[in-house]
Amino acid sequence: MTLTDITPEAIITALETMAEYGEPPQANTSVFDVGSDHYLSFFVEEICDHLVAGGGSTCRFFEGPYGAGKTHLLKLLEERALELGYAVVRTDLSSDLHLEDWKAITRYVLKDMRANISGEPLRSLFNILTTLGRQGAKGAAQLKTTPMPHPGFKNAIFQAIQQSNSNTAKANLLRAFLHGEKVTAADLKKADIFGVKNSLNERNAEAFIKTLIESLNILGLSGFMFLFDENEKSFQPRGGRPNQKQLNAANLMRHLVDGCITGTLPRTIVVFTILPGFLETMTIHYQALGQRLAMVRDMDINGSWRWPVLGLEQVNTAQEAELFLEQSISRLCAIVEKCGASSQGLADAMNQQGTRIIVQNAGSGYKRDLMKGLAVLAIERIRGRER
């Protein structure tokens, strides 16, 4: 989305969210972005248009302290991927959803995956499939005959595409199965659903994911993107050694890395945001993952964008705080003008406020606090309520 597409009302809502929490809502992330354009262009061109379009996959890690812009970057990637026809799921690795629980992750993916189908934003696998079906899903015939890791799940996908009414008992059962709920054979038989069996469990969760990705490819989606946002030191062991849960999580991350490298997860992009210290911990305690992600930690070498592990500062062209501030001010003044207010004198006020915030946050992530401070000034100017 660009500044020309967004309404003044949406701008105010986004600015308010930024003033409160330092980040815009998902819908308008790119309007407020500063400095990520070049990296996003690289990501789209090289990773999405070449690597994934050619059948490849990749797993990436972005490292940064609190407030450095990790969630913001994930939202930008999500926005781009949706525009390109990907199915996307962004997961906040909160205490309610742990990475070590692969079945829970799969269920979350099935229910919360998003895609834009002919411009219509959709959420959940069932809704995506029924919409594809209504639009005459190309590839349905090919899907029916292609062998898949989980044939029962594939059959459910195929039958969901055929559903014209999503409110019938049959549709409800298919939805339940597709979303990872346990559905008995008796119920399926009663609803005349055949060939659908083996509901999601711990053992077949990976087969579910593989079948999902391959099926969506056949049905015309460009690829699949998993975005994992770590906000709470989920992977940081307390008191030395990681516990079993953390080791299981690291093991699953290794699975994902291997899945992307070996092609068992085709046309897939997996992105993790991590806090500083994670890689060092993995190198010591879980070498299977640590070695796969090993990189030279040399202050004189800047990471190429092709490296799987990058610091947040390496993907933003406005690496210096002062440059970031300058570009942010320029962006926000344009936004204020878009809302019909004058930006006269605003740049100076923002510069003063921004410099103060950067100094206060020296040595740590400053961006969230900075965006809060600048957004307040922008809203007050728009509303004519400056203090």
């Binding site: 980040e23 809502p25 609190y66 809060k372």
Partner: protein
Amino acid sequence: MIIDYIGILETMATNGVAPAAGCSLFGVGYEKVFERLNKVYLQDRIATRGGSAEKFVVGPFGSGKTHFLRQLMEIAATQKFATSEVSLDKDLDYSNRLSVYKEIVRNLRMPDSSGRGMREILAACAKNVQGMLPDPDAAEAAFQGWLEGITDHDFKQDKFARVAQKAVRYYDQQDQDGFQTACQWLEGAFDNKEIASRLGEQPVKGDELKLFASQAMFSMFQFIRYAGFKGTVVCFDEADIGFQQTSKDKIQKILALLRADIGVINDLTGGAVFFVYALTDEVVHSMMQYMALKQRIDSPPGEGFMDGNDYAALISLSASTDREAELRKIGHRLADLLYDYARIQLAVDKSQAINKIDQIAADIIEEDISSSSRREMTKRTSTLLLNLLNRGSLEAAATVSPFEEDEV
């Protein structure tokens, strides 16, 4: 009505606590704060644009946090918001989302309704939609269209939407059994196999329950908005008790949930919910040790809510510069209401009562009760006024010596 007023005075005289109703009558000192919250959040962000928000009201014990929350809910209720007050005491585990969901539902009041809970919510939603058009036939058609459209609307949790749809249908068809079953599920019996089976749904498995409850909670707020109400205000009181768990792991869990909620609220479409927590400074201090949360809710120095920044997450109630003036104002307000409201001739002139009240304020400042001075002022003034009402005297009963006797 005068009896209610006296009941309120008695409550405040005994405990110095905010009454369950009527806080708007007595609220003093935060008029501008409520004006800002009403304008920026209740009217603009939530009612007009369907957005959601979260605030933390911070102050020591006795600084008026409960009163503040209740006054905010009263303001919201008069503007057709649903409200729910949840006490995060030691019996409610905030880290257990299902328990929190059940408690929010149990305490939820719809506008113009005296009842609480899921049955009231659903009935109010149905009636609100049915009452939108004056022509009965058009209203019925609109209602059926609204009902049909529930499952097409983007709720956070599809299953919640389907069951809510069934529940409203049962209500409309006066199917008591069906309505009862659906309400039980919506009240939180998500994992009950029998109830799920009767509704044609799969029970939610144990490991999914917490996440499901969280999603159901936000879906409920979306549903209330979808039914045409302005939004919902949920106030969490005594969060200092609820958050100060003995286990470090549990505290971490709670802080993580607070952080995660911010993300959900940011991206929630049509949720129209306002979460307000009452916290002590100690709890806020703990929150600020948790970087992921601190980054989101902290404000730069000079940019706090009381400095004029409407968007600052923390609202500090201990920022008053002239405490004695504030205490006098509280006392005067109570006196105004008694003298203006009471339809009986009071034995003492108002100016005398005011003088006594001013003395009370000065005494409290001198005693340096500090953090609970508002509570103490409320208590002593309420006692004074009750004495006046009941005994016709500004003096307390205990000042009359039991040994004074007329000489025979």
